[in-house]
Symmetry: C2
Subunit: 480 residues, 2 copies
Amino acid sequence: MAKDKKLVEAITSMDVDFAQWYTDVVKKAELIDYSSVKGCMVIKPAGYAIWENIQKELDRRFKETGVENVYMPMFIPESLLQKEKDHVEGFAPEVAWVTHGGLNPLQERMCVRPTSETLFCDFYANDIQSYRDLPKCYNQWCSVVRWEKETRPFLRSREFLWQEGHTAHATAEEAEERTLQMLHLYADFCEEVLAMPVIRGRKTDKEKFAGAESTYTIEALMHDGKALQSGTSHNFGDGFAKAFGIQYTDKDNKLQYVHQTSWGMTTRLIGAIIMVHGDDSGLVLPPEIAPIQVMVIPIQQHKEGVLEKAAGLKDALQLAGIRVKMDDSEKSPGWKFSEQEMRGIPIRVELGPKDIAAGNCVLVRRDTREKIECSLEDLPSVAAELLKTIQKDMFARAKEHQQSHITDVTSYGEFKDAVEQKPGFIRAMWCGDVECETKIKEDTTATSRCLPLDGQAPISDVCVCCGKPAHKLVYWGKAY
Amino acid sequence: MAKDKKLVEAITSMDVDFAQWYTDVVKKAELIDYSSVKGCMVIKPAGYAIWENIQKELDRRFKETGVENVYMPMFIPESLLQKEKDHVEGFAPEVAWVTHGGLNPLQERMCVRPTSETLFCDFYANDIQSYRDLPKCYNQWCSVVRWEKETRPFLRSREFLWQEGHTAHATAEEAEERTLQMLHLYADFCEEVLAMPVIRGRKTDKEKFAGAESTYTIEALMHDGKALQSGTSHNFGDGFAKAFGIQYTDKDNKLQYVHQTSWGMTTRLIGAIIMVHGDDSGLVLPPEIAPIQVMVIPIQQHKEGVLEKAAGLKDALQLAGIRVKMDDSEKSPGWKFSEQEMRGIPIRVELGPKDIAAGNCVLVRRDTREKIECSLEDLPSVAAELLKTIQKDMFARAKEHQQSHITDVTSYGEFKDAVEQKPGFIRAMWCGDVECETKIKEDTTATSRCLPLDGQAPISDVCVCCGKPAHKLVYWGKAY
């Protein structure tokens, strides 16, 4: 038992040091490892399996809306990157440059894609001719590179995995509709699958994507009260189309520019799952996304019949469509419990000789540690039902945490106090002036997260910073 | 109908110019497009959907053998690439070098991975401690870069998509077993799913992978009689383990080196599908891998009830688990037929007012153009059965083509004649001397494809090149 204790103690408590707790969970739950490549991570099987489940479910939802997958080159020639002025200014300082192919210097250097707007635009300029070719709703799953100075696993790394959707439409209205459609798809995915409530909103001009007309965002709240931008959807209007010459002939045979969108979600979602649901025993995975939903752990497994019975339970759960494994390693049960908890597996099933004699087994919820006794025959249906309950309860708890960490302020003094003393979102009115936005960031390190989309009522009529008339309600917060 | 004719005429006949036919199919079936990034391709939806099906089925088969997916960084620091002597010599001349991150030169340049042995070894050196950590059976899906001078879509491009498996084992025997297990998995996949017969064999030392102790290969035969290496599996012995210091403590507490393997398949498989099954009307996809298996094409679709009935057939086919679409665009039926043929969709279902009146529809096989009448009620079961038949027939035809294009030769004169006049594999004895292998390549451009694994009997007792005693039967051929 000394060993078991050590395993659990090896995690820093989140109240003592949240950043260290996060790093401990990421390592101890075997999600990632650091690599010899500075700022890049190795995603290990337990981490990658979560990403596979995210991919599978997002991809399914994308395809239901008519999205098709493609693959673009990973390199962008410098001249292509420079075609859209705002875009190149936003990204050029943080790209990795390829200058040599084999033994020879390249005629023109290329960057590794930080994002692929320029490649899709270059493609669309040739591929789109007529209104019959529209809309184009393409997506790709790939990795991108941004040369960050400070990195943290999943949250900010020099290379990360993501999907990037890029669409082209005949009209501005259609582009705006697709931009919002994808934002809501992202939000629904976070809430339904990751059990993670989000604020849906629009970014201020200062915070929007380089080259976008408008950027929409979903913002989630972490355990420590910091916000995490969890997905963005951009409307480019016809800005890129004009820079790249993407035109189509409409039904009246007139040349028109297309209107474009892009939208992306990344492996940073795994960081969000950790920081929304985790606890001092490690990861807590929502059942919908958990690669293993139930771990069967035999007790006194060398006693006759125990392993066979446990394997039978595993098979029965599998047959019921549950992702299940059995831990029949030579470790002690306590050690196995700690590992299952660290890895965030939603339910463990304990089964020993006494349970078998009584025709029962014990289910233990990872999220609440509640123990539930159940007959062996009923296990598959009880477990299936319990997985649903856990998913629902995890969302409710996260929602309650989010709601109880929103502070309304109407004066600058209150604003500064809230940033210091009340971790979470701050709701405050803003005049729309970028100078106020910049001042707030400089004074408090809180940034404007978004202008909420659901028409929340104003809470005063003056800007919290300058006192001038203000109509815009903004969510502010410290952010990852 | 003039338009329809043009679409078909736009493909070069494969007998006139096979290379041009290939390029035409790749473009006309909308599998890829060229990009502004020299030597890199854009994989379009019709091409990427084939890759997704390849991924899904291969990944399923991998996981059945205990493989887990991970993700390694895309960059390799130069010092890491240089750790294994043969490996760096094989790859350094064809890698892309990153020299700058943002505005600053890097302290050490890095290449974009051409393959990830070095990264996996670097990881395993830290991750593997004890015999309890073995075996490690990891795989990743990613893109890799090799700075090729001459490129062709799918077959040879500067960036391509692939999977690369990397395993570490306690013993040499286990490593060899895994190497062969994956080779047979690849071969079975090609034959069962891609309807593509392959020769399973071992590469000569000259042709093996840089750093490998032995390389196994599957070799497929294209329509034009050229071979295509379609998958490889390498046994590294403990060479990389010694270069990278990957050691574990065994049960007797002694330090041992691990034994490693790697194995990969790439988007070049799509090129193989085209060149094994295609014809002068375009692509012909095996049903198992076809993104769309059945295309329903309504005739006189503006006549009352036609579209509704066609949509009903589509729904019924979908319900039966068939991947089906309906083409209700405003194009002429002839144009739609040509498009469906070009895209290689295995079956089209034609349905017009006369068919409806008779309670029938017509199925047309893409591979043989055979027409089959069937009652509307029976369509789902008839189509499902026909898909199986097409899959089986396509394999049988490809197998017949392969078998009829193998020529046995016992003298050097016969060898040279066969290379000139009999496209396909040449079976000939070889003494094992690399000088003969090199001479044959220089004289004829044919290369040793493999030493077959299935114990084929010798066809003479002397080397076809030098006349010295020879025990090795080799498949030779021109190759992509």
